[in-house]
């Protein structure tokens, strides 16, 4: 079990309100990702759920039990920190066994559980090493190991991959997803990286300035962003936004088209422009086009495109794929 519900939760530091009243339901077994720019309150929200910060008002229920006033240890949640927060003077074995030791388990049972966790995480050869002798990815796995031995109701991850290099990050992303598949435990994951959010989540919670902008599955958010912020945040490269006559013609203040929904021609099209920078990735080509209305648009072409800076191109958009936003940035259905 691992069902978490937040009702009218707020958090203020002194006079600054970091989280305005917020409601959220996290279902059992779900992989929920909190995503948003830095300073949007996503880590604070996670720490409120963990119990490391006290809520200013509102209630947090875990499996239907009011946990608002419970100390962190009694909420039955396990957390993986951004800095991993391993205990540097303890071996990997002792690090992983620490929560079990605190729970008063006998030594042979502790060892059995630690070894089982180490086997799952490929840490068996490193059990007697100190954290200082491990690589970043291995430390990350130790931190996860320390979380899973407790058999928590839910895992909380606070930007766990931000200290790893790009290649390792992709690997760990897969490993965490696989862990979720096999454990089927609720996971709450905080990140500022929308790629992590899109690839891992069952449900994404987009936050800005402590407010929830939209909640939904990755593809819901991609297909039907509720507002301009979500539209710009989800998807890479970023959605192109146009204002002016193009938007007026469609009865909107702003229209948005994703780079992958633009088609390109060298002879005719909706918008005429000049290629600024062409980024050739092999599998894709990103063209940054300066169009004549003064806007810049990014186009994504699959495969290798033989275009270079300075070429004149014409862009067109699939009318079905144009997102319209009103003056307040809200999507027009």
């Amino acid at each position: 079990m691992g069902q978490i519900s937040l009702t009218q939760v707020t958090k203020s530091f002194g006079a600054t309100e970091v989280i305005p009243p917020l409601d959220l339901e996290i279902n059992d077994g779900e992989f929920v990702v909190f995503v948003g720019p830095s300073g949007c309150g996503k880590s604070t929200l996670l720490r409120l759920i963990a119990g490391l910060e006290d809520v200013s008002s509102g209630a947090i229920r875990i499996d239907g039990i009011n946990a608002t006033q419970l100390p962190p240890a009694r909420r039955g949640l396990a957390m993986v920190f951004q800095s991993y927060a391993l205990y540097p003077h303890m071996s990997v074995r002792k690090n992983i066994a620490f929560p079990l030791k605190m729970a008063g388990l006998p030594e042979d049972e502790r060892n059995r559980k630690v070894e089982a966790a180490a086997k799952v995480l490929n840490l068996t050869p490193y059990l007697e090493r100190k954290p200082g002798q491990l690589s970043g990815g291995q430390r990350q796995r130790v931190a996860i190991g320390r979380a899973i031995v407790r058999e928590p109701k839910a895992f909380l991850f606070d930007e766990p991959l931000s200290n790893l290099d790009a290649a390792l990050r992709v690997n760990m992303r897969l490993e965490i997803s696989e862990l979720h598949q096999s454990l089927k435990t609720t996971m709450v994951y905080v990140t500022h990286d929308q790629v992590e959010a899109m690839t891992m989540a069952d449900k994404i919670v987009v936050l800005q300035a402590g407010r929830i902008e939209q909640v939904g599955s990755p593809l819901d958010l991609y297909r039907a962003p509720a507002n301009q912020f979500v539209a710009g945040f989800i998807g890479s490269p970023r959605m192109n936004f146009l204002t002016g006559p193009d938007a007026d013609a469609l009865g909107a203040a702003t229209i948005g088209v994703r780079p992958e929904h633009l088609s390109l021609s060298t002879t005719e099209g909706r918008w005429k422009g000049r290629v600024g920078v062409a980024e050739h990735l092999g599998s894709d080509t990103f063209l940054h086009v300066h169009i004549d209305t003064g806007h810049n648009m990014t186009v994504r072409l699959t495969g290798e495109a033989a275009l270079k800076a300075g070429d004149t191109v014409y862009l067109s958009a699939d009318p079905q794929r144009i997102h319209r936003f009103n003056a307040n940035g809200l999507a027009i259905a």
Partner: protein
């Protein structure tokens, strides 16, 4: 860019400083060794004669020597115990956020700036004095007989005075060490179900181990040679109850004018300090590695 040539030049460049430092150390040491082998009394100048190891024999068989040796160890051990335990507790307290933190931290450090003679005199006359002292006043207020600290517990009194002076040093080093502890580590331990005592013993204390080592090593060096506090309070007495090795050497050479015996005592003190240093490094020096 360390070629053989530049290395040779570097050696040549630093050799004057190294030679000067070597002389600085070797000359007084060898003179002390030389004096320790003479019968040399200031009351009979010009009568020095070679007597071999007799001075050492007298010094090491002197009953005062064993008292002084145990007093030295008690003094060092006692002060270390008080300053390390007290320092950790004070550092934990000062690490908490509270109003006026900056000023309180400076006040706590203040005793370190008071010179030993002054602090010992203040303690002797204003606190421990059985007639005028604050403690005597307190005892009388509670209806108890005033306790004459320096007469009845001279060594303990000196340990308290010295510990008072060194407590800020220990607190300061331990406080900075405490502040370098990653707060996420404590939060992780909290999530792992560790109560505040467990967090202290499993996370904070191991983190402080290295700082404690530094405090113990540095303080031991200075505490082996405590002198001023003894001179201005008890003069090593009553009898030899508060005489340490340093004070015994002083008494031998400057109160009994026996330079030869005092020198022998000085050499014995150097050897003892090295033995202590050796064991200290063996016991806790490994904390400083890595």
């Amino acid at each position: 860019m360390s070629t053989a040539h530049s290395r040779a030049a570097a050696k040549a460049m630093i050799s004057p400083a190294v030679l000067l430092l070597l002389c600085w150390m070797i000359v007084p040491l060898s003179m002390t060794v030389y004096f320790s082998l003479l019968s040399y009394n200031l009351l009979m100048p010009g009568m020095e004669e070679w007597i071999g190891l007799t001075n050492y024999e007298f010094f090491l068989t002197d009953p005062a020597f064993f008292t002084a040796l145990s007093n030295t160890l008690l003094l060092v051990g006692g002060v270390l115990l008080i300053t390390v335990v007290g320092g950790i507790l004070l550092a934990l307290l000062l690490d908490q956020p509270f109003f006026g933190q900056g000023i309180v931290r400076i006040l706590v450090i203040a005793p370190f700036f008071v010179m030993p003679t002054v602090s010992a005199l203040v303690w002797k006359n204003m606190f421990m004095n059985p007639v005028n002292g604050l403690f005597a006043y307190l005892a009388k207020f509670l209806g108890l007989a005033p306790f004459d600290f320096l007469a009845h517990a001279p060594l303990l009194s000196i340990i308290l005075i010295v510990a008072w002076g060194w407590l800020p040093f220990a607190t300061l080093i331990l406080l900075t060490a405490l502040q370098s502890l990653n707060p996420e580590e404590l939060e992780a331990a909290e999530m792992d179900g560790a109560g505040s005592l467990s967090r202290f013993f499993y996370i904070v204390l191991p983190h402080l181990a290295r700082a404690v080592t530094v405090v113990v090593l540095i303080q031991t060096i200075f505490l082996l040679s405590v002198f001023a506090e003894i001179l201005v309070t008890t003069n090593g007495g009553p009898g030899t109850a508060s005489t340490n090795i340093t004070y015994l050497v002083y008494a031998q050479s400057l109160l009994q004018f026996d330079v030869g015996g005092g020198s022998a005592g000085g050499i014995v003190a150097v050897v003892l300090a090295n033995i202590v240093a050796f064991f200290l490094m063996r016991m806790i020096g490994k904390n400083l590695e890595a």
